[in-house]
Each structure stands twice: as C-alpha cells, then as structure tokens.
C-alpha cells in the first residue's frame, strides 16, 4: 500500500488544518447569519410551550 507514515503526517499537517478551518468557518457563518436569528429564537422559546401533544 502507498500509505506510509510520512504521507499520513503530510496530509494531516496540511489538509487536516485546512479542513478544520473550513468547517469552523462554515459553522460560524451558519450560526451568525442574521437571517437565522428568527428560527433560533423560535427554537429556544418554543420548547417552553406547555402544550404536550404532537402538532397537527
């Protein structure tokens, strides 16, 4: 197999870093996207609703 120790190290030191940065950026954009604020506010308050039946 072509996967030796050195190439694994190289991949994790380069692409590993980029992939983490890209994922982190993606998450931050999603959470801080202004348009998402409304759904988040609804999500966090709607669990406090006392109604204990499935929605229609």
């Amino acid at each position: 197999m072509g996967i030796d120790h050195e190439s694994v190290v190289a991949v994790s030191k380069s692409w590993g870093l980029f992939y983490l940065i890209a994922m982190a950026a993606g998450v931050l954009v999603y959470t801080l996207w202004p348009g998402n604020r409304k759904r988040f506010t609804r999500a966090k308050t709607s669990i406090l609703d006392k109604n204990d039946r499935p929605g229609e």
Binding site: T31, R39, A43, I47, R53, G55
Partner: protein, 552 residues
Amino acid sequence: MVTGLTVSERHMALFVLGALALAGLAMAVGGRGDPLAVHGYIVLAFSLGLGFVVLSALFAPEPPESRLSEYYDDPTRVGIILSLAWAVAGMFVGVWVAALLAWPELTFVDSAWASFGRLRPVHTSGVIFGFGGNALIATSFHVLQRTSRARLPDQFSPWFVLIGYNLFCLIAASGYLIGVTQSKEYAEPEWYADIWLVIVWVAYFVLYIRTLQRRKEPHIYVANWYYMAFILVVAVLHIVNNLAVPVTFGHAKSYSLFSGVQDAMTQWWYGHNAVAFFLTSGFLGMMYYYLPKRAGRPIFSYRLSIISFWGITFMYMWAGAHHLHYTALPQWVQTLGMTFSLVLLVPSWASAGNALATLNGAWHKVRDDATLRFMMVAAVFYGLSTFEGSFMAIRAVNSLSHYTDWTVGHVHAGALGWVAMITFGSLYALVPWMWKTERMYSPRLIELHFWLALAGTVVYVFAMWNSGIIQGLMWRTYNDSGTLAYSFIDSLVAMHPYYIARAFGGLLFLTGAVVCCVNVAMTIRMARHARKAEAGGDVPLYGQAGAAQAGE
C-alpha cells in the same frame, strides 16, 4: 403495554423474538462447551420470556386511534425504570470493587467471578451503558418527540431499541462474570454481542431520523443534534474498534484486526470518544432540554450552543492520543492529542457557561428546587472535569497523573458530578410528566438525594485526588543513590485510608440512588391511586387506555 401495540406490531414483535430465540438456540448448540453456549441460553430464555408476554396480549383489541394524537411514551417510562435498576446494580458493584481495593481480603468466595478483574467491568459497563445508556435512550425519545412535535413513527422500533439494548447490556455484564472479554476497556463484549449492538444502534438511528422527518417544527432543536451525534458517532466508534475475527463461529473468543500501537491508538480513539459522545454529547442534549425547561427560561445563547456543539464534535475526534502519552505512539500524534485537548476546553466551557448563564436570574429557583440544583451542580462539575481533563492532557502533567488514582478521580468527577447528576436532575423533572402527576412523591427525598450525591461525589473525588498525587509523587521520588525512595508496596499502604474514604463516598452516592428509586416508585404508585380515584370505578377499563398504559 403490549396492548398499546397494534396487532401487526405484536406479530412483528413475535417474529423478531422468534428469530432471536433461534439465534440463541444456534449459539447454545454451536457453542457447546464454550461460554458462548451460556449466552445462547440467556438469549433463548430472554426472547422466550418476552415472547410469552407478547402472546398473553396477542388477541387484545387494537389500540384506539386517539393514541395518534398523543406522544408515545411507554418506552420512555420503561427506560427510566431500567436505567434506575442498572444504576443501583452498577453502583452497588462500584462500592463492592471500591471495598475490594480497600480490603482485598473481602474476596469472600474463592471463585473467579468474584475477583476484582471480573467485577470491575461489570461496574463500568453497568453504570455507563446500563444506567447512562438507558437514561439517554429514554430521554432521547421524550425530547425528540417534544421538540419535533411529532409522535414516534411506529411503536415497535422504540421497543426494539430499548429492549435490544438491554439484552446487549445483560450479555455484556454476564459475560464478564464468566470470563468473556475482548480486553478493550469500555468495549469488552465479544463479537456476537458487538454485532447485535450494531443492529440495535442502526435501528435507533433510523428511528431518530424518521421522527425528525415528521417534525412540525422548522428547525431541529439543538438537543437533538447532541443526541444524534451520540448515536451516530458511537456507531462509528463501535464498529471500527470492534473489527475482529472470531476463532470460529462456535467460539466466544475473537482476535482484533489491529495489533500493536495501531490497536492502542484505535482503542483510545474509541475510548476517548466514548467519553465524548457517550458520556458527554448525549448528556449535553439532556441538559439543553431539561435545564431550560425546568428553569422556565430559554437557553441563554442558542448560537453559542450551536458553536459549542460543532466545537466538541470536531475536536474530541482528535484528542484520544492523550491516553497514550509516553508510549510507542509517534510523538507528533501525542502532541496533536494534547493540543486538541487544550482547545477542547473552549467549547466545553461554552456549554457549562451557557447552562449557568441560563440560570442567572433564577437563582431563587435553584435554591428552592433540588431538581434544578442537580442540573446546576452537573454543569459546574462538567466545567470542572473538562478543565481537569485538559490539564491532565498536557504531557508533563500526564507523566504525574497517568497510572494513578488521579485519573480515577477525574473519571468520577465527570461520572458522578456530571453524568449522574444531570441524569438524576432530568429524571426528577421527567418522571412527573411521564406518569402525569403534579410533582414527585416527595420533594424532601429529592433534597436528601441531592445532598447524599453531592457529599458522595466530593468525598470520592477528594480522596482520589489526594491518593493520586501521593502515588504519583512517591513513584518519582529518588534517594541520594539515584534509586526509587519508595517501593510499590509503600505507596499501596499510603493509599489505604483514601480507599476507605472512597468506598464511603461511593456508599453515600449509592444510598442516594436508592432513595431516588424509592421516590420514583412511590410517585408511580401515587399516580396509579390518583387515576383509580379519578376513574370512579364504573368506566370500562378500555375507556381509560392512556391510564392503563401509564400504570404498567
């Protein structure tokens, strides 16, 4: 409960139990003379026993359509009871092994099953998988339905998940006692149990996704993300770490596909993520639902909860190498594990802080309500144990802490202070909802439990910190001639008082769990009486289907 299943679901249950019984029979016959046969008989007895339960209600009428306008909570109720039963059993064995360490002569029967090495995994699996796992399954069904405003898609699969999972736990615990183990910590069960767990776990994930697809809420509440990460990642970890080849299909023993340092790395990638996704992620899901619910306040920052979710999900994956400092593992992998462990503190504290900030402004509730206090203390211990963990992951610190009781102290700061506390808090909130009573039978017993649990945790953790640091220092103290100043037995003698203290702290904690069981049992009784009085006698049982189910 069986009457709550539709007739075709009852047929399905019988079919699956029949297939399981056949599998048990095959194990019993094929594994003659091997521990595998013992497990075959257990599987056989288990499925036949349940088969009779289903048969006894096979011809009951179909459940009323009105059930579809309610959530399906029977599996949650049973899951709560199973969780508490495992809690008491697992912690009882915990106190037992603690006592064995303090007084080794206590190995009162001269047989293998009563030895420390076999009882210890019964403790760890009993509390983590039995107590923790059942609590996670029970609460996840509840949270999933409420936050999606959708009923579970069918009534068979939640039972398959819950009961199948408990069969796994039973096979695991009984296996250790008869000497069946893969010798991989937290992954001890052998190949056949592992295969069964994969089936159960896939059913769990599919059930989760199917319910989410039916959701009436546009956004998936963050608690579900944590539960889903728990289910999905545990599946991946479990499958990879347990890749093994059985000696023969009639033999319990198997050999891992990995060897040497690869095996060690795979095991601790698994082991650490078991901590992360079994003992943390799912319980964070619990916290993000029950804490705001109980406090009557929305989570302080929803955005922060999402960021911390992805934070721990990314970072935990890379932290496992901190279990293998100073080993044959390449240095850079150790450094990677250490670095990620340090960064991990950020999302961990974000969650703990988010929980505490949610309570800010409701401190009077925390003071008056022991249930909420359980959750608050859990968040504090979550913060503490993650700080401690990140600290211990530093290579130089680990050179002191590794192999000592400091690790055991860290484990139980997390396990007792965080995992058990958040579970008890959530169960105290959930039980009255599930059995439709105003409140728990006795708030004073909750109060008593809280103090027993807190005292037990503090005694346990302080004893282990002391003993761990002393051990670590004694093992690295040299005298003038450059040899070790203390023999191993010296350090053992120095441990003795701490081991007694630990056993005592554990006993307090166990007593608290027993108090919880009594309180829950009395609540269920109270609910039953109230329902009987309400029904006023002259209504056919069928008219109160919901009540009859709840009481079972």
